[in-house]
Amino acid sequence: MTPVTPDVGSPYVDPVRRDLMHRKARRDVLVASASLVAFVVVAVVFVSTAPGWPTVQELFFSGESFSASIGEVLSAFWLNVRIFLIAEPAILVLALAIALVRGTSAPVMFPLRVIAAIYTDIFRGIPTILLVLLLGFGVPALNSDGITNEPLVWGTVALVLSYSAYVAEVFRAGIESVHPSQRSAARSLGLSASQTSRYVVLPQAIRRVVPPLLNDFISLQKDTALVSVIGPIEALRQAQIDSSFTFNFTPYVCAALLFIALTVPMTRFADWLNARAAKQRNAGGSA
């Protein structure tokens, strides 16, 4: 009776095999650490013995320039955060509407379906910075009464229009990935088409696409910097201003660190959601 190789988490492991596994694990850890140490040593030696390193350090990693600019860059970064917090819900709502419209099959909805399809094509095709310029300078130039001239408003509108096109496609992919049997089952239980969408299809669809959605939002966090081309001072622009006065590039490193500080928690959260979604999908899979 040969012992069957158990899964991790199974209570019984053959003692001989367990010893072997422990010894291999210890060896693997040792080799990994040694390799890491050697890699770090090589990188540090290679960079610090490069002839231009003192110049690079002075121009990109200057402590004095960092402490001089971090305050202003941080307060300008608050504008990026505000734009992001306002744009995100607007994008979710608009994108879901577009995805739902594209998913209808009623003939009466044909014009709306065409408009939605054209919308996604156009706004995914135009570079976001062009959209910001066109809306930020073009709409106020129309000089109509009742339309605000405020650059921040039009910059945010441009971001919302651009990103809704991408996010609508993500939602549509999620909706179409829900198996048609779910819809058939719901209809056969007596739910109407809209009730099926609302109670059966959409909850599953949205749960599936949360990880790729987070990708788009991390990208949005960085694209808030584009609003600076029509005037408002946000973190990257403030870094550019500081840098041009001192001819030092450290303020850009400041701004980069702030963006990373905002993005990394979201990335780790997205990874965790991904892992949890995969586990839920495969739960009880192995028969």
Binding site: V42, V45, V229
Partner: protein, 296 residues
């Protein structure tokens, strides 16, 4: 078998490190000796084209941004010699001994002009103001023009008739990024509302036309160009009195740090100044550039 391959990785890495450090530890192998050749023939002019170590031997490579705006350049073509800075550049080149054919122009966006590393130009002339912080990173020539800041607005703007600093403080002002105009707004005008900052004067002018800013702060020659060519109903509201003496804001040419060419260019500028040619160029291209002064 696999184990021995794994343990070879750190060894290979250490070998690479040893190679890297030995390649960079050559002492004194990178010292060129143009000084010794000049010393050996004392009659050779160190500033003659033959003995200058330019980017391309025998040619002078000058950098500027694109688009190159009037009145500093004309038709976005620096090589036509028209425009204040183009004329100054060619005058300096002639003083150094370069013919017009030996001068080539290259496009250098402002941000690239002060980036580290070897420059692709001998000097950059692009309305760059000399400041002590910038002089730590690059070398500037002596100033070739003393700059005053001015405010441009539409004739329908609320600050069109402003005469004092206080009236400007209540307005929404704008400036181009990286300019001392922006610094002037932040340090001297100190308006209540945060200024708007734009990538170039085209964007700034668009915002002015839209009424998104009340006034645009630029140097006086650029203000003159914008009101003459870009705006239908623009006016120069006024100019700020500059600081007198050695602290006056001046445009200078930008060189790689410690480039010996700067000394030669300074000599050229000094002789152009002494002969009156520099003033003649200024009178030719910047005529009529004037505006009432603001009272503080």
């Amino acid at each position: 078998m696999r184990r021995s391959l794994l343990s070879a990785v750190p060894l290979v890495a250490l070998l690479l490190a040893a190679c890297g450090s030995s390649a960079t530890s050559d002492p004194g192998s990178s010292s060129p000796a143009p000084a010794s050749s000049a010393a050996s023939s004392p009659s050779a002019d160190p500033c003659a084209p033959a003995s200058l170590a330019t980017v391309t031997a025998g040619k002078l490579t000058i950098g500027t941004d694109k688009p190159a705006y009037p009145p500093y350049f004309v038709d976005d073509t620096p090589s036509n010699g028209k425009g204040f800075e183009s004329a100054v550049a060619y005058a300096v080149a002639k003083q150094l001994g370069y013919t017009n054919d030996a001068v080539t122009w290259t496009v250098v966006p402002f941000n690239n002009s002060y980036a580290p590393g070897k420059k692709s130009f001998d000097f950059d002339i692009n309305q760059i103001s000399i400041t002590p912080e910038r002089a730590k990173v690059v070398t500037f020539s002596d100033g070739y023009y003393t700059v005053n800041q001015a405010v441009v607005s539409l004739t329908t703007s609320k600050i069109a008739g402003a005469k004092t600093l206080a009236e400007l403080q209540a307005a929404k002002l704008g400036a181009q990024v990286g300019t001392t105009s922006l610094k002037y707004i932040q340090d001297d005008i100190k308006p209540a509302a945060q200024p708007s900052v734009f990538n170039d004067s085209a964007a700034a002018t668009a915002a002015l036309k839209n009424g998104q800013i009340d006034g645009l702060v630029v140097d006086l020659p650029t203000a003159y160009y914008i009101t003459a060519a870009e705006l239908d109903n623009g006016k120069i509201v006024g100019q700020f009195p500059g600081v007198a003496g050695p602290d006056a804001e001046q445009f200078g040419m930008l060189f790689q740090k410690d480039n010996p060419l700067a000394t030669c260019v300074n000599q050229a500028l000094a002789s152009l100044q002494a002969s009156g040619d520099l003033q003649k160029i200024q009178d030719q291209w910047l005529a009529g550039v004037d505006a009432p002064y603001f009272a503080s």
